[in-house]
Amino acid sequence: MKIDHSVPLEYSTEENKNRIFGFWVFLGAEIVMFSTLFAVYFTLWNRTGNGPTAKEIFEIGPVLIETFLLLTSSFTIGLAINSMRQGLMKATMGFFAVTLLLGLGFLGVEIYEFVTYVNEGATLQTNAFMSSLFTLLGLHGAHVTLGLVWGGGLMLQMKREGFTPDTANKSFIFSLYWHFLDVVWIFIFSFVYLKGLM
């Protein structure tokens, strides 16, 4: 394995560079997948049948909390990578932990929101609006859930092995994934919630 010391650890081998590039290609596919679900939602969002409309069911409070939690977690994972590049293990682990806790908080609020909808009688089967909403939000929430498991596993590995080209590479790729989830959320916040409440 040839290690190039002029670049950050996560880019230091040919394989690492390819892995990062490959992950960007994957994110490109994710952009397209989320676009199709946004297209479905934009087509169906005012097909509400006998069920509630977006304006009746959305509440801005929990949405603002979710937005704040996810924006902050995207900031802290950025800081984690920044500390990792300076070789600060403790700070990296700390920022990772904060990121995952914020992600967990986000997920908690989102589950609370879903439970509220279902209690109000708006389930996946209620109307086309709720189906497309739950599919779009649910896929994003599933990504966050996967991220929590992935990030937790990475923390264990980093604790055991320290910063190696391998763990640094994985952490950097995880940070790309986490920032991407934040980008998707920005669009959900603007064009699902705010537009629905307008």
Binding site: Y11, K17, I20, F21, W24, V25, L27, G28, A29, I31, V32, F34, S35, T36, F38, A39, V40, F42, T43, I60, L64, T67, F68, L71, T72, S74, F75, I77, G78, L79, N82, S83, Q86, L88, A91, S175, L176, H179, F180, D182, V183, I186, F187, F189, S190, F191, L194, K195, L197, M198
Partner: protein, 94 residues
């Protein structure tokens, strides 16, 4: 402190918070629909760029051109999917 919280990241974070608040104003001020959508779209695109360039370091690798091409192509396909769907399913009938 400066080591752990580099200015660029803090600025990126603060600007995404500010942009979210700006987007929120569409609910409280009296604006036309076109104006509201413009505010939302501009805020979302700037926030996306902050994430891409500040946090995800898209510009720092050697394979920069291929990366930009890949993301631009993905965005192109996504935008065509969304607006093509809206055009054929909604706007075409109005």
């Amino acid at each position: 402190m400066k080591k752990l919280f580099p200015l660029q990241h803090v600025m990126g974070y603060v600007s995404s918070l500010i942009l979210s608040v700006v987007a929120l104003t569409v609910l409280f001020f009296d604006m036309s629909f076109g104006m509201q959508m413009t505010v939302l779209l501009v805020c979302a695109i700037i926030q996306m760029s902050v994430q891409l360039f500040v946090f995800m370091h898209i510009g720092e690798t050697g394979s920069k051109t291929s990366l930009y091409t890949n993301i631009a192509y993905a965005l192109f396909v996504g935008i065509v999917t969304i607006f093509g769907t809206l055009f054929t399913m909604i706007w075409g009938y109005q």
